[in-house]
Amino acid sequence: MAFNNRQEAGKTVVGIEDARLDASLSVPFRDYMFDLIANGQNDLVIDLSMVDFMDSSGLGAIVAVFKQLNGEGSVQLAAPQKAVHDLFYLTCMDQIFKIHGSVSEALSS
């Protein structure tokens, strides 16, 4: 399984255990997140610390999560590595998502 989740401080922290969040993983990732949301877990923190490459499909999956929440709940991103952070910066994702340096920072926000 490429993903895991745990409850912490009333939020669901989702870990990605793969180094690449790309076209091959974006649909499984989206479906995994949709299952959590269907379960009522809609305060989500995505722990990106293991991901060293993400492409436009990966980004699309995160946006899909955001759309699926439809304003009820939140999705925050935590601990992106430099390459992933650069992608967020280039695509101005920081205007759409809260991006935190670490998971604990995201949980205490």
Binding site: A23, D55, S56, L59, A61, V63, K67, M93
Partner: protein, 404 residues
């Protein structure tokens, strides 16, 4: 099922044949391994062999070995008859690829059961074969489709052209699995030329089809429903501002939780008499502004979110003033993210260095040099992503127009 019985002792062969025939199978007979091999070659319907071990000429072990090493295009199930019960016979049989064993003298009930097992395996094997060939056919068809879609994509691209005093040229190489890169340039009226480059997220047919649709929409400069030109009261319409064009596209193409389709884009309008350019960026890599006269490369990337991500997004417009001889270089992320054998990315700095070396050369030469360097970096001409760059040069503005 067609069964071949290989046994040198005539009486035993006849007896076995009769029993197997009675079980409903079609029986072929051979006296030794060599005859068996030629029968197997001549009768492709034979899928199961029951063979004695000890035979003159080619024995059972040799026959099994020859079958496994041979180039039969089908799986042949092999049952070895062993007169002895010692383990060495079984071990030797297994090691050359026998599927099952029967002790002599043959117990006919046991024979029936082992034949049934053999038939099951052969049938499974046949089903698998058929499924494989069906899959192969489908795959061939899909690959043909992808190839013709890639050709369609290429045929939609604008030809290199000079529009008013702007020279446009480009390089485009779609990835093997088809991507979503698209670009274009059109005169909006006789003083304004628009240009754009976009990259739909993901790969494959879905992304490509979406990029075709966007291309058609943006190409429509004259129509009543054009999104790039406003029909004013005057005879010719006025260009819609770049941020407005992006906003309109964003309203029209919102991604959904299911589709995950969105795109990054740069869109600009050049006022050709003055060289004034208005630009809008939506998550696309920055445009490189080559200014040989000032010896600098500028980066134009007033960041904005990609198109289709959020409904209430807004974009801003950047203005620059081109001098004659200036070039704008638009590229998609496939260029800078192109990896070499060591998984290193090509990167922006490397791109800028090449451009600086070549910016005084004719545009086609510069375009060729960038491509050469990319192929050298990659080590081949196979790329994971669409590779696109669009270059335009601002001319001196004296192309048949009187100053006003």
């Amino acid at each position: 099922m067609d069964v071949l019985i290989v046994e040198d002792v005539h009486g035993q062969r006849r007896l076995l044949s009769a029993v197997v025939r009675k079980l409903g199978h079609k029986v072929h007979e051979a006296q030794d391994g060599l005859e068996a091999l030629s029968l197997l070659a001549a009768e492709p319907t034979i899928r199961l062999v029951i063979s004695d071990w000890m035979m003159p000429g080619l024995d059972g072990i040799g026959l099994c070995e020859a079958i496994r090493a041979g180039d039969f295009d089908r799986y042949i199930y092999f049952i070895l008859l062993t007169g002895k019960t010692e383990r060495s016979a079984t071990v030797q049989g297994l090691s050359v690829g026998a599927d099952d064993f029967l002790n002599k003298p043959v117990d006919f009930q046991e024979l029936e059961v082992r034949l049934k097992a053999g038939c099951r395996v052969v049938e499974l094997e046949q089903t698998l074969d058929q499924k494989n060939s069906e899959l192969q056919q489908t795959l061939d068809m899909l690959e043909d489709d992808l190839e013709s879609a890639a050709l369609t994509q290429q045929s939609l691209l604008a030809e290199p052209a000079t529009i008013q005093n702007i020279v446009f040229d480009w390089h485009f190489k779609p990835s093997k699995i088809l991507g979503g890169d698209m670009f274009g340039y059109h005169a909006i009226d006789d003083e304004n030329v628009m240009f754009y480059q976009l990259d739909v997220a993901g790969h494959g047919i879905r992304s490509a089809l979406f990029s075709f649709a966007l291309n058609n929409l943006l190409k429509d400069v004259d129509g009543a429903s054009s999104i790039v030109r406003e029909e004013g009261r005057e005879l010719s319409g006025t260009p819609v501002s770049p941020e407005q064009v992006i906003s309109r596209l964003n309203k029209r193409f919102q991604t959904t939780a299911d589709s995950m389709l969105y795109f990054t884009m740069s869109y600009g309008v050049i006022h050709t008499p003055t060289g004034r350019v208005r630009l809008c960026h939506a998550g696309h890599p920055p445009i490189l502004w080559l200014r040989p006269k000032d010896d600098t490369i500028g980066e134009l990337g007033d960041a904005g979110v990609p198109v289709g991500m959020v409904t209430n997004a807004s974009w801003c417009c950047q203005q620059i003033q081109l001098k004659p001889g200036d070039r704008l270089f638009l590229y998609s992320d496939g260029i800078t993210e192109c990896e070499n054998g060591q998984q290193q990315m090509f990167g922006e700095q490397r791109l800028k260095d090449i451009l600086k070396d070549a910016w005084q050369l004719p545009m086609t030469t510069m375009i060729g040099q960038v491509w050469n360097d990319l192929c050298q970096w990659r080590g081949s001409e196979n790329f994971d992503d669409d590779m696109t760059y669009l270059v335009m040069e601002y001319g001196d503005g004296v192309s048949g127009r009187s100053g006003g």
